[in-house]
């Protein structure tokens, strides 16, 4: 939970990332997220078929395509405006559980986004995570996207606190997300549609945790690539 302000900036000795997390970088992040989800759309939908209603990939893909095209059209320069545009578009086009949840993630991230450096990004992501938790009333271990977002934010914070460069920190975040995603497999769902299955939900990977891992993967690829 360490606020990002605990580490005042990127360390000397590595590239400063202060000017990398700008609007263009965030746009690249969302584009990469959209690309990954599009590529894995059917796989996401299939995960959702096993313990849900077979629409997670379709819904997110539709929403992220809309977000990318909104960013194309509006092309906001301000980083917070990028995240806000994404939030609004997702809320408008996704529906279901993941629409409000990812929408809230980006909305809160947008509001919390300060200076465009790695620390600000971590603050924003943590705010997004907390928004998701508040909106969905889920807790860690409920077998939801939170179970990927939580470890990702923790790893990010930890790496930045340890003054590791943003590249590495985002890679750690993505790895944290992936670990969290994998950890959802044995869980019995308590929130979302999978909770209706009771014990039968165990043994399946949560689709939302899977897409959330893509979100973090995308950050590692798109943002750190600029670091």
């Amino acid at each position: 939970m360490g606020r990002a302000s605990a580490h005042p900036g990127a360390a000397l000795g590595c590239l400063t990332v202060a000017d990398t997390v700008d609007g263009a970088a965030l746009t690249a992040w969302v584009q990469e997220f959209a690309r990954l989800v599009h590529e894995q759309r059917d796989a996401l939908t299939e995960l959702d078929a096993a313990i849900g209603d077979a629409d997670h990939g379709t819904n997110l893909d539709r929403g992220l395509a809309a977000a990318v095209s909104a960013l194309d059209t509006e092309a906001p320069a301000d980083p917070a405006a990028v995240l806000k545009a994404v939030a609004t578009t997702l809320i408008r086009t996704v529906g279901g559980a993941s629409g409000p949840l990812y929408g809230t993630f980006f909305l809160r991230a947008s509001s919390a986004l300060g200076e465009g450096d790695g620390a600000a990004l971590a603050v924003a992501m943590r705010a997004g995570l907390e928004g998701v938790a508040a909106r969905g009333k889920a807790e860690p271990g409920d077998k939801t996207m939170l179970d990927a977002l939580g470890p990702a934010c923790d790893a990010l914070d930890e790496a930045l606190t340890a003054n590791r460069p943003l590249d590495e920190a985002l890679r750690a975040a993505a790895e944290g997300a992936a670990r969290g995603r994998d950890a959802t497999v044995p869980m019995v769902a308590r929130k979302g549609r999978a909770s209706y299955l009771g014990e039968r939900s165990a043994g399946h990977q949560d689709p939302g945790a899977t897409s959330a891992t893509m979100l973090m993967e995308a950050a590692a690829t798109a943002l750190a690539g600029r670091g």
């Binding site: 939908t45 078929a49 209603d53 279901g96 629409g99 929408g103 929130k191 209706y196 299955l197 009771g198």
Partner: protein, 333 residues
């Protein structure tokens, strides 16, 4: 996947064109995918808005009309509508007496309706109250879970609260009636086959020829357990027994018994199931005051059915009997 569709991505938009063409007494906002009764907003009347994912037809658009809903929001297949749709619907039915949202208890539906209500609260004076239906006894309820799904009782809520609104009850009264229906209703469903979400292109689950899923919802999600296919008589027991175990249905003015088809089950079988359900209730000493048999809340082409029982009282029966004039439910008008 065998469906009468064009592009899977356009199913909802194109079906709405058909609804608009078939029902001149409805007004369809194609941009927002909201179906309104054409005289909405009705001045001085509480507006009723519902909505949810598509693929459950006739629910909800088929229940728009005098005596029932004022508007229905159509989400993507099995995907709750987005807040903008709910806002558009709410605005469009606000006749000055406030608006009731009838929301089925699914995480997505609840959150999207909630966000819409937050937006409405921020920008206008429209009073919005939400009633969340959660009647599915297949789901264990607990403080720590998403709770029970809203299924069959939703239609009874829409009919009965719709009548209450039509008769001029204020928002609090309409909401109270809606909550009473939800509180006194319980459901349980079974699937004999899966359904296929158009965009997914293949069945959501595989079910061997000799198996069925007990305790399913209406989105093709698997049920609580998979059991061997059984005769209708035993299936009826498997559905009714947990419903009766969950609420005492004796002592009221009888129940409204609703046998609902999931979309791919012939009416012949639904009537046969109704006979079984009626026999079980008779043995249990529970009188059936009213009934509804048909495919009203479907799950695309899924084969199967659900049973909903509503413990009724005089007022609820009177409201149930009140005129209704919608594509899917119509009497007295």
């Amino acid at each position: 996947m065998k469906k009468l569709i064009n592009d899977p991505a356009n199913v909802v938009a194109e079906a709405l064109r058909g609804i608009a063409a078939a029902h001149p007494e409805l007004r369809v906002d194609h941009a927002q995918r909201v179906v309104f009764r054409d005289d909405a907003p009705v001045r001085g009347k509480v507006g009723l808005v519902s909505g949810g994912g598509s693929g459950h037809e006739p629910m909800h658009a088929g229940f728009v009309g005098p005596g029932m809903l004022d508007a229905a929001c159509a989400g993507e297949v099995f995907t709750s509508p987005v807040p903008d749709q709910v806002v558009a619907a709410t605005r469009g039915v606000d006749g000055g007496a406030g608006v009731l949202h009838v929301v089925k208890n699914y995480t997505g539906d609840v959150m999207n309706f909630e966000m819409a209500a937050e937006l409405m609260a921020a920008e206008s004076g429209t009073e919005v109250v939400a009633v969340v239906t959660d009647d599915d006894v297949a789901v264990q309820d607990s403080l720590y879970t998403a709770g029970r799904r809203g299924v069959g009782v939703t239609i009874l809520v829409e009919k009965i609260a719709g009548a209450a609104a039509e008769q001029g009850l204020p928002l609090t009264g309409v909401a109270e009636v809606a909550r009473r229906v939800n509180g006194n209703g319980r459901s349980m469903g079974v699937a004999l086959t899966s359904c296929t979400v158009p965009a997914a292109g293949r069945p959501t689950f595989d079910l061997p020829e000799d198996q069925m899923e007990i305790g399913i919802g209406i989105h093709g999600e698997p049920g609580r357990r998979r059991v061997p296919l059984a005769p209708a008589r035993e299936i009826a027991e498997m559905l009714v027994e947990p419903v009766l175990a969950d609420l005492d249905f004796t002592g009221g003015d009888g129940v409204i018994a609703f046998v609902n088809g999931m979309g791919g089950t012939p009416l012949l079988e639904l009537y046969l199931m109704y006979a079984e359900v009626a026999a079980i209730l008779e043995k249990a000493g529970i009188g059936i005051a009213r009934n509804l048999v048909g495919s009203y809340m479907t799950s695309l082409e899924m084969a199967g059915c659900s049973v909903t029982l509503l413990k009724a009282d005089d007022e609820l029966l009177r409201l149930w009997d009140a005129p209704v004039r919608t594509p899917a439910l119509r009497w007295g008008a």
